[in-house]
């Protein structure tokens, strides 16, 4: 009887972990273009977990993991705008709306809506954005692309640079998930 109980517990734990999908190498690309200045940065160290049981998603990354071609742009990004020493992490906590209506066993790409709380530069805003999710041979990947307003996250651009740096910065986010198993 005791063994039976153990088996039941083990099954519970195993299913619980198989229901989670994880990545530590998700990407976020940021992009801004004005006639004066183009900003392109890439972060390849974004961590995320998708709970396939209820569609809950969290993502987190270190701001200083954003890399730019020009070291000076990277310096200004960290020092003057994102203030990565004071606000080292950016975090998303949310869910995929109506995730239960998706059939994970059928391969294909589906349009989804994502909503949740996005924290950047110490400021948290509610976001609701379109995205896509792809199931292929049991592998789940997800993408979304949306602009964020610097003002909304209290990232201050000095007047002298407002022509070079627009308020809306485009984020392109992509995650290739793997099933999560506890270390």
């Amino acid at each position: 009887m005791r063994y039976l109980l153990l088996v039941v517990f083990a099954t519970v734990l195993l299913t619980a972990s198989a229901q989670k999908q994880i990545t530590k190498t998700g990407t976020i690309e940021i992009f801004s273009e004005t006639p004066l200045f183009t900003i392109e940065g890439t972060n390849k160290k974004v961590a995320s977990i998708l709970n396939t049981e209820n569609g809950e998603v969290v993502a987190s990354t270190l701001v200083r993991s954003f890399k730019f071609h020009e070291a000076l742009v990277e310096e200004h990004f960290n020092e003057n705008y994102m203030e990565s020493h004071a606000f080292p992490k950016s975090i998303f906590k949310g869910r995929i709306i109506d995730f239960s209506s998706l059939d994970l066993s059928k391969d294909g790409t589906y349009d989804i809506m994502i909503e949740g709380k996005l924290t950047i530069h110490g400021e948290t805003n509610y976001v609701k954005e379109k995205g896509t999710i792809t199931f292929a041979d049991g592998i789940i990947s997800a993408s979304t692309e949306f602009p964020v307003s610097l003002k909304a996250y209290k990232i201050r651009v000095e007047k002298a640079y407002t022509k070079a740096i627009q308020d809306e910065i485009l984020l392109k986010i992509h995650f290739n998930y793997k099933p999560y198993s506890k270390k």
Partner: protein
């Protein structure tokens, strides 16, 4: 007996439903992420705004493929009065090219008005201040400079051979960024000049200290001082002291300051500074730096 089975059945029934209910909240998911993501070495960046504190090198250097072009000026002494526009009529200039071969190795070439000097320098970063996975309290770099005085020799008693024109500076740069505002650096230095006047020493040891206090987003106060051994007697030379302001704009760092050193090459700053602050014998100067990215590397 039956009671015992009922109890067990009850326990099983209690457990089964959980396999269909989320056991995790979003915060738990974030907790899993924190556990899963390996801690990294968090290198301290941006200890100084520029590769120079004022006259002396800071631990900052160009990244791979970056070229720093500098136009540095030191004007005449402020106590030269209104006739000389307080020194602005006379300027010594120094053109510098510093190139980052790798993130930890920089080469520099310069030409300065003072003694019509050409000099070449190398800067190596040995280790970096860091926290996280590896804790290191300071950044350590090694800087070496070789300079050539190309003045025409008018004194017939001096043999005009090339080696007589050479001088060398070796410096350890030890810096710590205490916080976002305050960074300090120690600079143990050794200067060797192959040929010096009778009353001077060939070898000079010095200890420099420099720092910055960043008081606004793009502004910092800077200072530096060096105590040199064996400076000649009769108040011929003074220890270099400078105080200034770093102003950062888009692609430039603009450094303005007052200093008693007339030259910019290290051997002269340390061993041949003639200005006495107490007599108003200091000068206005500026370093203007523009960084060009020559080869774009993806990190």
């Amino acid at each position: 007996m039956i009671k015992k089975y009922i109890l067990r059945l009850f326990l099983i029934l209690l457990v089964i439903p959980f396999s269909h209910v989320s056991l995790y909240s979003q915060d738990d998911l974030l907790g899993i992420l924190d556990d899963e993501v390996e801690e990294e070495i968090d290198y301290t960046a941006y200890t100084f705004k520029s590769s120079r504190i004022i006259n002396m090198h800071s631990i900052e250097q160009m990244k791979t493929g970056e070229l720093d072009f500098r136009i540095n000026h030191r004007f005449g002494t402020v106590n030269s009065g209104a006739y000389e526009m307080f020194g602005l009529d006379n300027a010594l200039i120094n053109l510098c090219f510093d190139y980052g071969v790798t993130d930890w190795f920089m080469v520099g070439l310069r030409r300065g008005t003072y003694q019509k000097t050409y000099d070449g320098s190398l800067k190596f970063r040995i280790f970096r201040q860091s926290k996280g996975l590896k804790v290191m309290p300071v950044t350590l770099s090694y800087y070496v400079d070789m300079s050539v005085n190309t003045l025409k020799i008018t004194d017939p008693s001096i043999e005009d051979i090339f080696s007589n024109r050479l001088a060398y500076t070796h410096q350890l740069l030890i810096a710590r960024k205490f916080n976002e505002r305050l960074s300090l650096q120690l600079i143990p230095s050794f200067v060797h000049r192959n040929l010096v006047p009778d009353d001077e020493e060939n070898d000079i040891y010095a200890i420099g200290i420099g720092g910055r206090y960043k008081f606004a987003r793009r502004l910092a106060i800077t200072f530096e001082y060096a105590y040199a051994s064996n400076t000649a007697g009769d108040n011929k030379y003074y220890n270099p002291f400078s105080i200034g302001l770093d102003i950062e704009t888009g692609g430039h760092v603009f450094q303005v300051f007052f200093t008693n050193a007339q030259a910019m090459v290290e051997k002269a700053v340390i061993a041949e500074t003639t200005g006495n602050w107490l007599e108003g014998n200091f000068r206005f100067g500026f370093n203007m730096s523009r960084v060009f990215t020559l080869s774009k590397k993806s990190h």
